[in-house]
Every structure is written in C-alpha cells, then in structure tokens.
C-alpha cells in the first residue's frame, strides 16, 4: 500500500486567485484538500472603531471602502440604518435614484465576479468583455458622484445632490445594451465544456449547511433557499418593483453562476422600472436638523452658511437606541447594527459583512476537493477582502 504524507501549503496572501490579501493554509494529501484554514485581517483598518470618533456623516466615506466593488450598496445600508435610528422619511425621488444606483452597483459587482471567476478557472475572454461593461457603470458613478469607486453619494435623508443632465440617457443605454452582453457571457460559458467540468459538482453545500454557516445572498440562493431581503423585508421602496428571485437546485458552483446571471438580468429590469417611475422632486428630506442646506443658500446667505457649518462640524444628535438594518448587497446580507447614546457620533457601529460570514464556509466547501478547485470555490463565494477585514 502506498503511503501518503500530508503536506501543508501556504496559498496567499499574495496570490492572484485569492481576490485580495487572503491567506489559506491548505493541508494536502497529494492533490486532495484535507483541510483549509483561512487567515484574514491583512486589510483591517478598524472602520468600526474609527466610526465611533466621527459624526454620522463622516462615516459614510468609510463605508465606501468596505466592499470596494460595490460602494453604493454599503452607503445605502449605512444611511438606512441612521435614518431608521432618526426615524426620518426619504423623498421618493431620492429612494428611486438609490434603487437605480444600488442595482447598477449589483451589476458592477457581479461583472467583476464573472470576470475574475472565469479568469481564475481558465476562461480569459469573459474578463475582457465584463470589464468593458463595468467601465460603463463606472462612468455613471463618476457622472453622479465625481468618483469612479469611492462614491460617497448618499446622505442621511437622501442624496448629496440630484443626478446631472444626461443621467437618464446613460442609464437607458445600459438598460438597452446589457441584456445582449449577458447573452455573450452565457454564450461563452454556459455550454463551454471546460467551464461545465470546472463548475458542476464543485463547492457543493446543502441548503441546511448553508444556513448553518450563515451564508447569504446569491451563494445561499444557489443552494435552493428562496430568500431575498429586497423582496422579503423591502427597503427603499423595493416592494414597488416587479422582479424574480432566482434559485438554484444543485447547490454547486454552476448553479450559483446561473443564479448570479439571472440576478443581473433582474437588476436591469428593476433599473428600467425605476427609471420609468422617476419623477421630479426633492432629493433630500426636509429635516434641517439633519440634512445639509441647499448649496445656493450656503453660498448666498449667512444663515445657510452657518447651518452647513454646524452640520459639517458638529453633526446632529441621534435619539438614544439601537437598530439593525440590512440590505441585500451583491454579496449577501450587509447589516449595520448601530447603537446611539444620544450624541452626534455612533456609540457603536457594527458591520455585518456578507463576505466574512460566507468565507467561513470554505472549510466545508473545499474539503475533499482538488487543490485546483479551491480557486473555483473562492470565486463562487464572491468575496472581497475590504469587507472581510474592515
């Protein structure tokens, strides 16, 4: 009988397929994975601690840098949590624009996912196409917020400003052209033998185990759990839109791939409906205690200037209490647990990052697989280290 020896291999933190600075210590029996131990924290910036020393508005730019592939989803979760604490209503136009931007963010994040996931397991062409499309979304980001990635566009009570002229046309362009582009990706992958062999039966996790491991988002839906926060606990007026929640059957990487592709198509549908229902109106709540005054007041009146200065420097007091608000971010349930002591800074802000919780399941999903399949499992979990390490 051949004797085998367990070998311990270090993968990462500098490794192109670990999507950032993830380090995996892999115990191998030949090519077969016996155990995976993730080591994280290389990108820890102490966002939760920092937020305790900043006003509520000053924390918004920190949230951009959590899941840097989906900044506006992070912004959205955070401002919704603060608004819930304050108990303020957001004007309809602001809500609709938030939905449009959040869904564009989903597209942007899923485009990076499909690009890198395919590149990791040997299909390079998709990468180039998906990044071309992502650029279009980035241009829209730049158009509304001035930044391609760190958007900082939402404010407590609404938006930092209304969208510029040409926004509607640019979004329409995306709505009109993207479904064809998705057909291209499917044409490149869905019947591609190599793709099928690398993804079918890979990274299987049953629905029960997935819930036990706290997996959320497309990774959970790929295991057949029909649950989407946008539909089941709607926020920002998601209940007004008609969209399907795709669910997988076989709990493997291929099903998660199909789920995310349908999600992209559904996102385009939501954007289209939101765009059709977009009406003129204010984009910031009428809450002078909390919201910044209009810029023309700031520049032309002393009261407006003082008002702006007060909110920018001191912030605003928030009633004592605690809330948990979560959104369906592209990667899963992104939650913010905010505790206020009645002051102008959060007493405690806890971020519940989807990637952190999802990554934990890698120990189970990769066990018994080949070492080459490990990168497929990382890709299918769609992690981003900025959010894991915070």
């Amino acid at each position: 009988m051949a004797s085998t020896e367990i070998m311990t291999v270090n993968m990462g933190p500098q490794h192109p397929s670990t999507h950032g600075v993830l380090r995996l210590v892999v115990e191998l029996d030949g090519e077969i994975i016996k155990k995976v131990t993730p080591h994280i924290g290389y990108l820890h910036r102490g966002v939760e601690k920092l937020s305790e020393h900043r006003t509520y508005h000053q924390t918004i730019p920190l949230t951009d840098r959590l899941d840097y592939l989906a900044p506006m989803s992070n912004n959205l979760g955070y401002v919704l949590a603060v608004e819930k604490l304050l108990g303020i209503e957001v004007p309809e136009r602001a809500q609709t624009i938030r939905v449009i931007m959040a869904e564009l963010t989903r597209l942007k994040s899923h485009l990076v996912w499909i690009a890198c996931h395919a590149l990791d397991i040997g299909a390079m062409t998709v990468f180039l196409y998906a990044f071309r499309e992502r650029e279009q979304v980035m241009d829209l980001y730049e158009m509304v917020s001035g930044a391609r990635m760190t958007s900082n566009f939402f404010r407590v009570g609404g938006l930092s400003k209304d969208v510029p002229e040409g926004f509607t046309a640019a979004v329409k362009e995306i709505v009109d052209t993207f479904p064809d582009r998705f057909d291209t990706y499917e044409g490149l992958l869905t019947k591609n033998t190599i793709w099928l062999q690398r993804t079918i039966g890979n990274g299987v996790i049953s629905a029960e185990d997935a819930i036990d491991y706290g997996i959320t988002g497309p990774a959970l839906r790929g295991s057949g759990v029909d649950w989407d926060l946008r539909r089941d606990n709607p926020y920002s007026g998601y209940d007004k839109y008609d969209f399907k929640v795709p669910v997988g059957e076989n709990c493997d990487t291929f099903d998660r791939y199909k789920v995310r592709l349908v999600e992209m198509r559904e996102a385009v549908k939501i954007i289209k409906q939101a765009l059709d229902s977009l009406k003129p109106g204010p984009v910031l709540a009428d809450e002078p205690q909390v919201c910044y005054p209009p810029k023309e007041n700031v520049y032309n009146t002393i009261e407006g200037l003082i008002h702006h200065f007060k909110i920018a420097s001191e912030g605003f007091p928030v009633p004592e209490g605690e809330v948990y608000q979560s959104v369906e971010a592209p990667k899963g349930e992104l939650g913010y647990y905010l505790v206020s002591d009645g002051g102008t800074k959060p007493y405690r802000m806890r971020i519940r990052p989807p990637s952190f919780v999802n990554l934990q399941a890698i120990e189970k999903m990769a066990k018994g697989a080949m070492i080459a399949d490990l990168v497929a499992v990382i890709g299918t979990l769609d992690i981003v280290l900025g959010e894991i390490d915070r």
Partner: protein, 164 residues
Amino acid sequence: MADMAENNRALIRLQEKFAPSILDIKEFRGEVTITVKKEDNVAVCKFLKEELRYNLLTDVTAVDYLGTDPRFMVVYNLYSIPNKDRIRIKAPVAESDCSIESVCSLWSTANWLERETYDLMGIVFNNHPDLRRILMTDDWVGHPLRKDYPLQGPDREPYKGRLS
C-alpha cells in the same frame, strides 16, 4: 409600540418559558430586543432556533458600556427565513467574569463571529472549538474595540479629535 411587542408570538412563548431569566424587553423602531441572563443564552437561542424557527444567526457582536456594571453586552441578531422576522437577544457580561457560553453548538457561523468578538472586545466564549484572534495578529496585546483602548493605539497620544 408596546402593543406590538406584546403581540409578538415569539416573545409570548419566550416569556412563558424563560420568565425568570428575562431581564428586559425593549421595542424600538419596530425591533424587539430581549435581554437575558448570560447563563441562559444558549438555552434561549436553542429554543428560538428549534421551536420558533429563528434559523439564521445573522450576527454576534458585543457593545462596551464602559463605566456601567455589567460592562459588556453580547448581542445576537437572529433571523427567521420562514417567517421573515428578526429578533435580537442580548446578554450582559461583567468585566470581572468576562466570559459567556458559545453558541457554536447551534450554528457553525458563530465560530468566526465569536472569534471576532473575542479578538476585538476581549469576551471569552466558553467551549468554543477554536478561540483564536481573527483580525488582529496572534501576538496582539489588548482588544481594540474596547472603549478604553485608544484610537491611535496603546503607545501613542490619545486622539483628541480632528485639529482642522
């Protein structure tokens, strides 16, 4: 708001079964928060998971109320996928006996979440399968999210706010 809390089915069942261990019930912005004695955290979570279908443990974290006794609050955010409903369980932990029973036996996801709470808040989870630091390095001293841990690190001048 009080009516809502009283109508909450889960709450009624919990009150029936765990009346002596419930310390406080709060309703704020439509969210129910139940504070229980820390000795009963696993029993309460088990009951919620198995009898009331709160099958997803969304989050485990802690809050440091420096200057009060007990100092820490361990917070469990639970979600019920069948009922689309949330509930929050809190358990006070004193600084002198800074430990609480782990809920890893109920949910595997608690493993990393509790490790993070241990790492950043310094709360020990008893019977945790692998209680190591997770975000900070293994040789780190102190627990950064505690309120008495200076923002700029232990060896530097305390943060006094922005100078500009």
